[in-house]
């Protein structure tokens, strides 16, 4: 492993993957970061924090019938390649971070994801809640969540 040079440092850029605290309406999703990757560039993805601040309903009342996807918690962030539109919870995501209660969840920082395939990498955050007649929460109520994301991805522009 060689020492870091001025030229190498110039080609390493830390890009933000972040969303300020935002109210997500039930079932809604939002693209909050997109990075276009060309050959021979490389992305190193390690860090992402997802925080569920609050909900307009008691979070303890949200039960499994209220979840659109049973395995994706109350809200989630997915990384998708060449995402244009459509439900982000469908299969094919490159990385997923799930929050199932109020508080912060962090991506495993020791698990580095290296991305080299050219294309558009997009981070999408989604509220995974839906109304349900069998739930304690009235079906007429919307389950809105206040969410924020803080993360970073390293881009190596001159990776060989």
């Amino acid at each position: 492993m060689s020492y870091l040079t001025e030229t190498k440092l110039e080609s390493i850029i830390d890009l933000p993957v972040a969303l300020p605290s935002t109210e997500m309406v039930m079932g809604d999703w939002l693209v909050f970061a997109s990075i276009k990757l060309f050959q021979p560039h490389r992305l190193r993805y390690r860090m992402l924090n997802l925080q569920l601040h609050s909900s307009n309903v008691d979070i303890a009342d949200i039960s499994s019938p209220n979840l659109i996807y049973a395995n994706l918690g109350l809200a989630y962030v997915v990384l998708r390649l060449d995402y244009t539109s459509g439900d982000p919870g469908l299969g094919g995501a490159l990385d997923t971070l799930i929050v199932s209660e109020a508080g912060i969840v962090s991506r495993d920082i020791t698990s580095e994801l290296i991305l080299t395939t050219p294309g558009l990498y997009s981070w999408v955050i989604a509220n995974n809640c839906q109304s349900d007649s069998t739930s304690t929460i009235p079906a007429s109520d919307s389950i809105n969540l206040r969410l924020s994301v803080t993360g970073q991805i390293r881009m190596e522009l001159d990776a060989a």
Partner: protein, 139 residues
């Protein structure tokens, strides 16, 4: 300059984030995404700035442009207050994504305020827009 980096040198190099989550950008509107003042002896470089237009919010409309050079939606680095000549720009003429040329370095050293502005260059169309990038700032 291609010497090895010392910790002191590393402390003087900062990546300044440019980020703008998907936001409805209405016709003829522009939004300041980031601002960086540069003083004498400092240097700012830009190599990556992605513009993503996931959705056109006014379907079946032929967009009418204010400035044909800026596409329907653009993000650019501007010097000063005027939205006339971007120093670096990424522009879209529809839904999709593009980036400033990452194989070329855009270097800004003239003292002043550099602003990243995303703008809707049409008089009759609205778009959802995402911007992600970073400056490298040499203090």
């Amino acid at each position: 300059m291609n010497g090895f980096i010392t910790p002191n040198r590393l402390n003087g190099v900062i990546d300044v984030p440019i980020y703008f989550a998907a936001t409805e950008l209405n016709r003829s509107r522009s939004i300041h995404v980031a601002q960086v003042p540069v003083t004498l002896g400092q240097k700012l470089t830009l190599r990556t700035l992605t513009l993503h237009v996931p959705k056109a919010l006014t379907a079946s409309v032929q967009p009418l442009l204010f400035n044909s050079a800026l596409g329907f939606v653009s993000v650019g680095v501007y010097f000063g207050d005027m939205l006339t000549a971007p120093l670096a720009v990424a522009k879209m003429t529809g839904v999709g994504s593009c980036s400033v040329n990452p194989f070329a370095r855009h270097t800004f050293a003239t003292p002043g305020i550099y602003t990243v502005v995303v703008s809707n260059n049409t008089s009759n169309s609205d778009y959802s827009v995402v911007v992600t990038g970073a400056f490298k700032f040499y203090l």
